[in-house]
Symmetry: C2
Subunit: 264 residues, 2 copies
Amino acid sequence: MMYSLEAGGKRLRPILVLSAAEAVGRNARAREIAMPIACAIEMIHTYSLIHDDLPAMDNDDYRRGKLTNHKVFGEAMAILAGDGLLTHAFHAITRASALGASPETALAIVADLAKLAGAQGMVGGQAADMLGEQGVTSLEELEYIHLHKTSDLLVFSVIAGARIGGATQRQLDALLVFARKLGLAFQIQDDILDLVGDAAKLGKPVQSDVTGQKVTYPFLIGMEKSEALVVRLTQEAKQALDDARLAMPDTMHAIADYLMSRDH
Amino acid sequence: MMYSLEAGGKRLRPILVLSAAEAVGRNARAREIAMPIACAIEMIHTYSLIHDDLPAMDNDDYRRGKLTNHKVFGEAMAILAGDGLLTHAFHAITRASALGASPETALAIVADLAKLAGAQGMVGGQAADMLGEQGVTSLEELEYIHLHKTSDLLVFSVIAGARIGGATQRQLDALLVFARKLGLAFQIQDDILDLVGDAAKLGKPVQSDVTGQKVTYPFLIGMEKSEALVVRLTQEAKQALDDARLAMPDTMHAIADYLMSRDH
């Protein structure tokens, strides 16, 4: 569990939790209270990578420039490490309550995570991705996969942080649109970087999607339209962010800009 | 997810949740409110069986008389089905709150489950079991494995039900002792049945532990002492149950008697 948690990565999801909590601006201790939630979502993200890398799934040997979990500890331990991280994420959320979140808020965050990381969310996206590899994937199917495999955890991060920060329902609604579009842009950018990126910066071989015959946005609509779509989705995400009328939106805007222009 | 949930089994853990909730006798709607918790623990139990049966773990072809999940849907889907069930269990717990459990009680149950099913609980027991198969296992190590692989989910079931039923801290303490001893007796009985049981009743081949070179109580201390230990642990469990001074303890006593005398 610690090997994969400590393997690094962008820590995008925890940063979104903490940034959203602060951006709302209605709780002076928002960042402190949101910290266990930030840890929880990184545990969920990390467990999903460990299981995704398994031989029965994507069969990857490297992740973040290090050997994948099962390459070091074996398949059985990798499965259990993923199970342990997934389970412990829910324990971390209960700790936000001990730090000052109301039991109602903590329980709403538990329900959000169970839905967005589960069979109707991330796990559902993973399952659709697995099934998609067995045949032709349409653009609609690919969008479904990206929305659930990637956007759902970003949605959770932003909404959970905003809940801790004291957001209104109208703000939560706008932030949901922001996170969904940001997640889709993020995943299409991932598809693009896998084709043209620098293996050293990515920490994994490029064109792994091509050799694995994975259907991607560039494969379906071409590189030029994919790049244009990333720009458009990011603009729409930033518009939704403006609609949320947060007290301190600058960090959230900066994150959206960074994700669009990143090279790894 | 549904294939394995609907494969049957004793439903021991959900029965313990509902029985404990009713036995305390301080909440007329205890059974109704406890129902989503009963479903949650069966989802956890079922996910653990799906992952435990995988080729990288115990590599079992049959479970409850049916083909194991990965034999029907493949390894990738079996891993995801387990992940989905584990995640959805936490969603089920939040539903107890909608039915009338206080947010504090629901959150305490989330924390219990995350601890008892996680790396310090069931997953930790599974990991110790995997490591144990690579070398000699002592009686202390075997007790650790049994307490965490099996007792921890029974402890969760009894404690969660009792929380919904309105148990005092003193009652929870006594029920913890009851469930730990019951779980250990249950697992030793499992070891015994694997050696001498009827394959048709068990729904899986007997002596699978022997062919898999698994260290068991009968292997370490002999059949006679193992059988005596099941009787003693069950008596101690029932004593702890008396100590809990439940309003309606009869069903709980009957469950303890049944588990000791079962043949599958």
